[in-house]
């Protein structure tokens, strides 16, 4: 029955083989490189799809397999993989977006000299992400978690000749490292406190889920908060969100794959996998909810004032991830996963469409664009679908998943509900601004010669647009099919007319405001800046978070670093130099003794004999 679940371990190996083959090819075989990378992604996608279809049958049993990896005395560390409905869904999302990005990159990266290297990195990333999804325990999860971080580093810094790309890659790596430290600490605390030092998700669920009492509530909260710190780093939540906008220095297909659809969602996935721990700690849940809500509105406001196409989308990603965190914090795990699922499609679509635009006009500044819509029809239409889905306009997918989250918020916490609605309004507003400035209006300075992208790029756009449009139907408010399937519980449909009406109103209002402000082609961001200068300036400068961190952490750490470097140079290095100087001084002294004069040697020998004689005689006289 569950044949494909049993061989699910093959899924990550397919891209791994692609990666190994591509690595041996080096920079040559450009055509073959594209094919090898894409076939690896295709193989993984087909297998994942088979696993998912198997899971769709009623009463599918979770399958897990593990083996003893390390045994120390009584204790044995087991690792393996696990197929649940959640992991099967994630597998399909990751491999589907991965496959489309692979195809798209064949066009986008066609003129790049290192396209084979690019494909090898993408394959490595796909392998790591699939391994992360399949992991049945926190330890191998952590391993793959770090691996995707490395791939992100490599791909953000892919154009390493550009200083900005190098800086962004380092920033991404170091900032997520802070979160990774939290995850590692969480694993250590869990290891100490779990019965039998178990780290697998099944055990975590049974310990924290039902009985409780084994682990005190203080420790539970500590573990949950540390896990959340890991998720904050990876998913770009406030205050560790600063790396994600900078990561846009990487190639656009990477922004779509890693920094919109999959890796940044790993934080949400982590919390979803360890959800029993969070459910056991109300304080941690509240933290997650408030951090998520704050990030959602905060990033949306910043997105309103940015002028770089990809950066706006990056802040939008942060904002939407905040939405997912908000849902998790409210206990609506299925809502969060649902939003993750739809967001993966429409945000990947938006990024790929943005990449298509950038490919055509060779700039990311939306002020230089304008009027591209008539020249790039497919890109414009698919971007519009993605933007409407993000803005939450029914019946596109984003509406349904936001609705699930907002419904959960309304019943539990009106304040968070309001924040969610405001975020929805801002989202619609900045997407309208973006769409109007890029695709409508007069032709901008850079847009004059824009042409539609080749078919290899537009076909993935169309496919993603289809998914972005219809993916929401898996969990309509009055059917709740996905929630039921994910949680194995019968969930009562949660349709709420108030939420639906308010959410549509927020979206429509946002689009209307955006149209009024920017649609006429008269109002520019300058005139709004004149209208309320303080806020626009602050939002444009991203609330000075980067500057604050520069003073607070970078500068102060640099001072510490200079002190440590001084200690290294002058104290440790001084001791080393002193040792060396002493040895060579002894050598010089020895050289002087060995002057080749036999008579000098003779004097030394006689002095020695005299000394020995004195000692012998002296001892005899004393005794």
């Amino acid at each position: 029955m569950d044949f494909f679940a049993k061989i699910a371990w093959i899924i990550p190996l397919v891209p791994l083989i692609s990666f190994l083959v591509l690595m041996t090819l080096g920079r040559g075989f450009r055509k073959a490189g594209v094919w090898i990378g894409s076939i690896g992604a295709l193989g993984a996608f087909v297998l994942s799809l088979l696993v998912l279809t198997e899971r769709l049958k009623p009463h599918a049993v979770d399958y897990s397999y593990n083996f003893s990896w390390i045994s120390i005395g009584e204790y044995s560390l087991r690792i393996g993989f696990e197929i649940t409905n959640l992991t099967a869904l994630m597998l399909v999302v990751v491999t589907l977006v991965g496959l489309l990005v692979n195809i798209y990159s064949a066009g986008y990266m066609a003129s790049d000299e290192r396209i084979t290297v690019f494909y090898s990195y993408v394959s490595l990333f796909t392998f790591s992400m699939l391994g992360l999804v399949l992991s049945d325990n926190l330890l191998s999860f952590y391993l793959f978690w770090e691996l995707v971080g490395v791939c992100s580093f490599l791909l953000v810094g892919f154009w390493y000749a550009r200083p900005a790309a190098r800086a962004a890659a380092k920033k991404a790596f170091i900032v997520t490292r802070i979160g990774d430290a939290g995850l590692l600490l969480a694993i250590l605390v869990l290891f100490w406190n779990m019965p039998g030092h178990a780290l697998d998700f099944t055990m975590i669920e049974s310990v924290f889920g039902g009985q409780g009492g084994v682990i005190t509530s203080g420790i539970t909260t500590l573990i949950a908060l540390l896990l959340f710190l890991g998720a904050v780093g990876k998913s770009g939540q406030f205050p560790l969100h600063v790396w994600l906008p900078d990561a846009m220095e990487g190639p656009t297909p990477i922004s779509a794959l890693i920094h919109a659809a999959t890796m940044v969602a790993a934080g949400v996935f982590l919390i979803a996998r360890t959800f029993p721990i969070f459910e056991a700690s109300p304080a941690a849940m509240e933290t997650v909810a408030y951090v998520g809500a704050f990030t959602a509105i905060f990033a949306a406001v910043i997105a309103l004032a940015q002028n770089d196409l990809k950066r706006i989308l990056a802040y939008s990603t942060i904002s939407q991830l905040g939405y997912m965190m908000l849902a998790l914090g409210l206990g609506a795990m299925t809502g969060a996963i649902f939003h993750l699922f739809t967001h993966a499609f429409f945000k990947a679509l938006l990024f790929l469409a943005a990449g298509s635009v950038i490919h055509a006009v060779h700039t990311g500044d939306i002020r230089e664009m304008g009027g591209i819509g008539s020249r790039m029809r497919i890109t414009a239409w698919t971007f519009a679908i993605g933007a409407l889905a993000l803005a939450g306009i029914p019946p596109l997918s984003g509406f349904w998943s936001k609705d699930a989250i907002l419904t959960a918020a309304l019943t539990q916490n009106p304040l968070l509900f309001t924040v969610g609605l405001l975020t929805g309004f801002c989202t619609a507003l900045y997407m309208t601004r973006l769409f109007v400035l890029v695709f409508l209006g007069k032709s901008g300075s850079a847009a004059a010669h824009a042409k539609e992208s080749p078919r290899v790029m537009t076909i993935p756009l169309i496919m993603l647009a289809v998914f972005a449009a219809v993916a929401g139907f898996v969990d309509l408010p009055w059917s709740g099919w996905l929630s039921t399937w994910l949680s194995d519980e019968v969930i009562t449909p949660h349709a709420s007319i108030v939420v639906i009406v308010l959410s549509i109103a927020a979206g429509v209002l946002g689009i209307g405001t955006g149209w009024l402000l920017y649609g006429r082609g008269k109002t520019t961001s300058r005139s709004i800046a004149n209208w309320m200068p303080g806020l626009v300036k602050v939002a444009e400068r991203k609330f000075y978070i980067d500057e604050l961190y520069e003073i607070l952490f970078v500068k102060s750490l640099r001072v510490v670093g200079i002190c440590l470097a001084a200690i290294d140079t002058y104290i440790i290095g001084g001791v080393v130099k002193l040792t060396g100087a002493a040895a060579s001084a002894a050598g010089r002294l020895g050289l002087r003794l060995q002057n080749g004069q036999v008579q000098t040697y003779g004097v030394a020998a006689v002095l020695g004999v005299v000394a020995i004689a004195l000692v012998v005689i002296g001892r005899r006289m004393l005794s």
Binding site: Q594, N595, G596, Q597, V598, Q599, G602, V603, V606
Partner: protein, 100 residues
């Protein structure tokens, strides 16, 4: 009686030692070496006559020493002549090639 012989031998030995270590001329160094050997011979003979167990062994030994010293002096002078031909000097501090 013994101590006066030993004192003389010690004085001779010290003069020889000083000459060996301090003189620059290789011929003088050789002469000083002979002086040291003779100081030893004097010791041997003094002990063979006035020692705790007088015997002929010491005198025989000194004859050996004189023989060996003669051979040694012959070889040393030969080497010195060869050195003088090669380097044009007999000053010992010029012979420091082993240093390198």
């Amino acid at each position: 009686m013994l101590s006066s012989y030993l004192t003389l031998a010690a004085i001779l030995f010290c003069i020889g030692l000083y000459g060996t270590l301090a003189k620059r001329n290789a011929i003088i160094v050789l002469l000083s070496l002979e002086l040291m050997l003779n100081a030893v011979n004097l010791n041997l003979i003094a002990f063979s006559k006035y020692g705790a167990i007088p015997s002929l062994t010491g005198q025989l030994f000194s004859i050996f020493t004189i023989t060996v010293a003669a051979a040694e002096a012959a070889i040393a002078v030969a080497i010195l002549i060869a050195l003088f031909r090669a380097r044009g000097t007999v000053l010992v501090d010029a012979f420091n090639r082993m240093r390198r």
